[in-house]
């Protein structure tokens, strides 16, 4: 860390000329980056200009610049908009529930996998566990729809054979969020476990040997060595998830929800999508999106700052 700082200072104290001469020698390298930089500028930085739409009475015919200002009308009405408040609430509820239920799942899987001695079994289980991660939510939602289907689904088959009435889970306000959480775990548990398994494999084996000498059993070693050594990783990932709390899972929800469950399922992102690209209230939708993005950036930068302070290195 200090070495990096010192080197930076040396760079800065060098006369500008010297830098320019060197830059000239290395101009091929700058040229290489030219096209990627232009693409990034066009598709990432130019849309920032489009944010102005949020402050305009946007009319596509006039364009962004010529449309009239709206004097923050949209931001004033944001918190009088029942549907926005509902979306904000749903976003937070779904995110928090995912943090409580889905976040620990990969940790449990990693610890259990680590206890498996049969190498092949462990490998196969792990490979299966992250297979859904590589599928899109379109594909997975199509599968979920079949598994939860009132006609053909296995769960309703069980309910039916026990004498109950089939439940249309994805159209039921009581069951939609549980379905979101379970399917989220299904998709991401294996992928999430990889990083914990890597952390476990870097635990010093001496610790286990010392515990053996002290007569600790497998279970004790699991609870007193494996789990505690994961804590730093857990803390970092948890803080990062807090920074992402406004992202409740756009792809997942857009592919699973339907008007019958909007009350519990409509999140900010899906609301922006429908307002903007289905009802074409582009200016209002941009305002909602901007609100979300600004709060989101603050949260992510904040989360990273906390991690940096804790561990002296952030995520970059």
């Amino acid at each position: 860390m200090d070495a990096v700082l010192q080197r930076d200072q040396q760079h800065r104290s060098k006369p500008r000329n010297e830098n320019l001469i060197r830059a000239k020698k290395m101009k091929t390298l700058y040229l290489m980056m030219l096209v990627p930089m232009l693409l990034l500028f066009l598709f990432h930085y130019v849309p920032l200009y489009g944010i102005l739409v949020a402050f305009k009475k946007f009319s596509p015919g006039l364009g962004i610049w010529k449309s009239e200002w709206n004097h923050f009308e949209h931001f004033k009405s944001l918190f009088h908009d029942f549907l926005f408040i509902r979306a904000l609430k749903n976003t937070l509820v779904i995110s928090v529930l995912k943090l409580i239920v889905a976040f620990p799942a990969p940790i449990v899987l990693a610890v259990l996998l680590n206890e498996v001695r049969h190498v092949m079994f462990k490998k196969v289980t792990q490979s299966i566990s992250y297979l859904p991660h590589f599928m899109s939510w379109v594909i997975l939602a199509s599968m979920v729809g079949e598994v939860l289907s009132p006609q053909r689904g296995i769960i309703n088959f069980v309910i039916h054979s026990l004498g109950g009435t089939p439940i249309n889970f994805l159209a039921d306000k009581n069951f939609f969020i549980p379905a979101l959480i379970v399917t989220d775990i299904w998709k991401e548990i294996g992928w999430g476990a990889i990083i914990y398994l890597a952390a476990i494999s870097s635990i010093n084996p001496d610790l286990y040997e010392a515990a053996d000498v002290d007569g600790a059993g497998r279970f004790k070693k699991m609870i007193h060595i494996t789990v505690p050594s994961l804590v730093p990783m857990i803390v970092i990932l948890f803080i990062l998830s807090l920074g992402n709390i406004l992202n409740a899972g756009f792809d997942q929800i857009l592919n699973l929800y339907n008007p019958m469950v909007y009350d519990v399922a409509d999140i900010i992102d899906t609301y922006v999508y429908r307002k903007g690209l289905e009802q074409f209230q582009l200016d209002y939708a941009t305002a909602v999106g901007l609100f979300k993005n600004v709060v989101g950036v603050v949260l992510i930068v904040g989360a990273n700052a906390i991690i940096r302070r804790r561990s002296e290195h952030g995520i970059w």
Binding site: N19, R22, A23, M26, L29, M32, M33, P36, M37, L39, L40, L42, F43, H44, V46, P47, L48, Y49, G50, V53, L112, E115, V116, H118, F121, S127, S129, L131, P132, F134, M135, S136, V138, I139, S142, M143, E146, V147, R152, F157, W186, I194, I195, A198, Y208, D212, A216, G217, R218, F219, L254, G276, L277, A285, T286, G289, N293, V297, I300, W316
Partner: protein, 290 residues
């Protein structure tokens, strides 16, 4: 070493993990069974672990229906071109950024990193594509994601670790940076290139949202969108894939959708055993702080 065995715990653990694996795979299996069933089989109440008889009607329908095949080839095209573009942009950016003595390197790095934080958002992106005249243009599916900052970071971190000796001696021999990149750096970083390429390929293969908002013309749509439209529609005749005498009385929309899902995940499943280690390598390198 671990003398104190705990057979009960082992048994429970292996049982639990086996059930877990079955649960993870079950939705895939049900889709497979459904894709090899016909309407009679699929519409009876109850679930089917095994079809009454394996029929390939759904696949015959999918493979002979031109719109679905067009979407399939569109997916292949965007995956090949899009991946090539991402890998090229990643290399062209990561190599210069990996040079510690590149003047003003920090400013350039910042230019790329900042893009990870801020985005205009859904509507500004849409307005940009619209004003560039790229609606209904395949470029709208390829260009916006061409520069992948996360891949650049992974690649840069890796390039910073490779031995500089070879590069320097090539430099002495009068090779330029571009020559060094193509003849020394790229051969040395094949594993990371594979990682970045596989990630990009899976991303393009699975992408649907961009096609949903930017593409209206059915001849330019992608396979994922076909599946999505089949999900929203109630029966075959409601899709643009059904009408015009193409509906098949022996098939439910669900059968056809299941078959489409299977052909869409097929390639991923096929490369999965070989590609796994590269996928994992990605998060390992990525999590090393640069």
């Amino acid at each position: 070493m671990r003398k104190k065995s705990f057979p009960l715990f082992d048994t429970l653990n292996v049982t639990f993990l086996s059930l877990f694996s079955l649960a993870v795979l079950y939705p895939f299996w049900q889709t497979l069974v459904l894709s090899f069933s016909d309407a009679n089989n699929a519409s009876t109440l109850g679930f089917h672990l095994w079809p009454d008889q394996w029929v390939t009607d759904a696949y015959q329908f999918v493979f002979t229906f031109q719109n679905i095949m067009v979407a399939y080839s569109n997916t292949i095209i965007r995956t090949v071109i899009g991946t090539a573009l991402i890998v090229t942009c990643t290399l062209l950016t990561a190599y210069p950024l990996s040079k510690k003595d590149l003047p003003y390197r920090n400013y350039f790095t910042a230019f790329f990193l900042i893009a990870m934080f801020f985005s205009g958002g859904l509507i500004p992106n849409y307005l940009l594509i619209k004003s560039l005249g790229l609606l209904d243009n395949r470029l709208a599916l390829i260009l916006p994601g061409a520069v992948n900052v996360f891949s650049i970071i992974i690649m840069r971190n890796y390039l910073m670790t490779i031995d500089k000796g070879l590069e320097e001696s090539a430099f002495m021999d009068g090779a330029g940076y571009f020559k060094i990149l193509t003849s020394i750096v790229i051969p040395l970083s094949k594993p990371v290139i594979a990682t970045v390429a596989l990630w990009a390929a899976v991303g393009h293969w699975n992408a649907w949202f961009d096609a949903m908002i930017y593409i209206r013309d059915p001849s330019k749509t992608v396979l994922q969108m076909v599946v999505r439209q089949m999900m929203v529609a109630l029966d075959l005749s409601q899709t643009q894939f059904g009408g015009g005498g193409m509906s098949n009385a022996n098939l439910l929309l669900s059968n056809v959708r299941a078959a489409t899902v299977m052909i869409s995940i097929g390639p991923i499943i096929l490369i999965y055993p070989f590609a796994q280690k590269y996928f994992i390598k990605g998060i390992m390198i990525g999590s090393l702080k640069g």
